[in-house]
């Protein structure tokens, strides 16, 4: 395989992986913007999403796509419940208490996963994993293509939802200024509830989409959180467009580092990247202003 094909192959891998990171991170940045909260449990919604798709698809015998469609509202509900039980009661009590609460909830979700899906890792088996396309020497499975398309479609859907609909506008208003949003009649309390549910559903969708590509274990929740963190740090906290760019950048970084340097050290390299970004440019590569 020539070098240029290898580079092309890594670009394809990186972009398809990046599309899922985008989906994961837009939810994260949405909850950060609306709730002013660092949601440590975000990656665990992704993990639950993947497990739910596995259960719906294999144990309940539904197909892959119905399972994904069912997992999205399920994770939305779980997110809403988490908000009511652990985040809402701490509203207005400083930034640290809700973060601790989501940390505890992340632990809780991980232990529930260990109880419900014990033992080995799970694999979501779809027919699309067995169809491989080849284009100019670059090969990819149909699943990778579908994952990419679905992730992009969901992100675009979210973008139009936020830009065009009334609820979307209310969410953005809450992000920008809570008091002013209240003044013009936005119920910021229900917006916070809705935002957390929506961000959980997006993470769940990301987990369901990437589930057929990688093995599922309770530990992927934490890994997903780290990835979401890197993406929003790259793009700037609270910025949707930044999250889209950051997601693809992280996907490409991982693909190239894994393909050309050393796959085993990719996680460590990602963490070093986090620290470098925080030291050099805390507002993110595309963030407009420094967030204090």
């Amino acid at each position: 395989m020539s070098t240029s094909t290898l580079v092309l192959q890594q670009i394809v891998n990186g972009v398809s992986l990046g599309s899922v990171y985008v989906l994961l991170a837009v939810g994260f940045t949405l909850s950060m913007g609306v709730l002013k909260l660092l949601n440590i449990a975000h990656g665990h919604f992704y993990m639950l999403g993947a497990y739910l798709v596995y259960s719906f698809a294999h144990l309940a015998g539904l197909g892959y796509w119905p399972a994904v469609l069912l997992a999205i509202p399920s994770t939305f509900l779980i997110g809403a419940l988490v908000h009511l039980a652990g985040i809402k009661p701490l509203h207005g009590k400083g930034y640290l208490a809700p973060v601790l609460s989501t940390l505890a909830i992340a632990f809780l979700m991980e232990s529930v996963a260990l109880l419900v899906w014990p033992g080995t890792v799970r694999l979501i088996d779809t027919p699309y994993n067995y169809v491989t396309y080849s284009l100019a020497g670059v090969s990819f499975t149909e699943q990778r293509l579908l994952t990419f398309v679905a992730a992009l479609a969901l992100t675009a859907g979210l973008y139009f939802f936020l830009q065009r609909t009334k609820i979307g506008k209310a969410l953005r208003a809450t992000t920008q200024n809570e008091d002013s949003a209240e003044l013009v009649g936005v119920n910021t309390g229900s917006m916070r509830l809705f935002a957390l549910g929506l961000s959980a559903a997006l993470a769940g969708a990301a987990g369901g989409l990437i589930g057929p590509l990688f093995a599922i274990s309770p530990g992927i929740g934490l890994t997903a959180l780290f990835k979401a963190l890197v993406v929003v740090l790259l793009g700037g906290l609270g910025s949707i467009a930044g999250a889209v760019l950051g997601g693809f950048l992280l996907g490409l970084f991982e693909a190239f580092f894994g393909g050309f340097v050393n796959a085993a050290w990719t996680p460590v390299a990602t963490f070093v990247l986090i620290i470098i970004i925080l030291v050099v440019r805390p507002r993110g590569l595309f963030g407009r202003e420094e967030l204090e």
Binding site: F107, S111, L115, V268, F271, I275, E292
Partner: protein, 342 residues
């Protein structure tokens, strides 16, 4: 004045009784519970480490188990690979942790709120990833085994009975150091920085300096616990940088009571003893169920009783304390920097 004197006498008597109990305990326990007692002591030191940062500085430093693990690996490498004495391992581990803390602290402590949490989480991730990936040095996932048993002047701490006393002495030293620290001018400055950084700064307290003191001490406590752990189980692997160690000690601090001296002790006793009692219940998957019970308890504590068990007892039985710290006791995190996010 009378009340104060009485309180002082009572607490002195209480501490004397507890110390006597701690010294006499090995004669009452069987080997299994003695082993758990040493584990409890190690947990207490590690929980004190997090408590210093979270409770007295208001910084959610999730990197403390990284310091614990790094210290364990350093002493393991020096004693196994280089054949040095375990005391050199201790000194080297503490020295290395001071340097690492200064380096990572100078990056992390300048950042506020969530950014600080992020750097420390990333640091934990780097340590965990390196422990697994650098298998040529760290032994990878299978870890490093057969660490030497500590000995001092011919006295070898070879049995759990003897090791208990070594651990107890180290615990008492740590408790004394932390007690003196938080009740000194430095400790008051730390609390002032926690409660209102700008106000403290305007009073001539350099926030960065006191954060750094607390941060380095946090690292030293974790490193001491790491050394004690590594030479006790005589084995170290990447799991010390993982989920359960972080959870158990964070639970001990938050449920026990952050920002109090007794909190980590009560919490550590709880987190080790209760699972043993639960383990007697003949149910499948009891380990997963106990995590669920504990995490639910943790969420309820954070939401409903943020001062923890010890803070609650303190507020209930110590009137003077209650009046002085009324607001802080209601929620130890509520007076911190707010709205650091967009």
């Amino acid at each position: 004045m009378d009340i104060e004197l009485n309180l002082r006498t009572y607490s002195l008597i209480g501490m004397g009784v507890l110390l006597g109990l701690a010294i006499g305990l090995p004669f009452l326990l069987n080997e299994y519970w003695l082993y758990l007692s040493v584990v409890i002591i190690i947990y207490i030191i590690l929980a004190m480490s997090l408590n210093l940062c979270l409770g007295y500085l208001g910084l959610l430093n999730l990197g403390y188990t990284a310091m614990f693990g790094v210290a364990g690996y350093i002493t393991a490498l020096l004693t196994i690979r280089a054949g040095l004495s375990e005391w050199i391992g201790l000194i080297a581990a503490l020295g290395a942790i001071v340097l690492i803390s200064l380096a990572i602290g100078s990056i992390a402590l300048r950042l506020k709120g969530v950014y600080f949490i992020l750097v420390m989480v990333a640091f934990l991730g780097i340590c965990g990833g390196t422990a697994v990936s650098a298998s040529g040095i760290t032994g990878g996932s299978s870890g490093l085994g057969r660490l030497p048993i500590p000995s001092i002047m011919g006295l070898e701490f070879s049995t759990t009975f003897k090791y208990y006393y070594l651990a107890l002495v180290i615990l008492l030293i740590c408790l004394y150091v932390v007690y003196r620290l938080v009740n000194s001018r430095v400790g008051r400055a730390m609390i002032a920085v926690r409660d209102n950084e700008d106000l403290a700064n305007s009073q001539g307290i350099n926030p960065l300096r006191y954060k750094m003191i607390g941060f380095v001490t946090t690292g030293l406590l974790a490193a001491t616990a790491g050394w004690l752990y590594a030479h006790f189980v005589r084995f170290i692997d990447p799991s010390v940088l993982g989920f359960s160690m972080l959870f158990d000690t964070a639970f001990a601090v938050l449920v026990g009571g952050a920002g109090t001296l007794g909190g980590p002790i009560v919490g550590s006793l709880f987190v080790v003893i209760v699972p043993q009692l639960l383990g007697k219940i003949p149910v499948e998957n009891i380990e997963a169920i106990r995590y669920i019970i504990f995490t639910v308890l943790l969420v309820v504590t954070i939401v409903r009783m943020p001062q923890g068990i010890w803070g609650w007892l303190k507020a209930r039985y110590n009137y003077r304390y209650k009046m002085a710290r009324f607001i802080t006791l209601r929620n130890p995190y509520c007076l911190l920097e707010e709205d650091l996010l967009p």
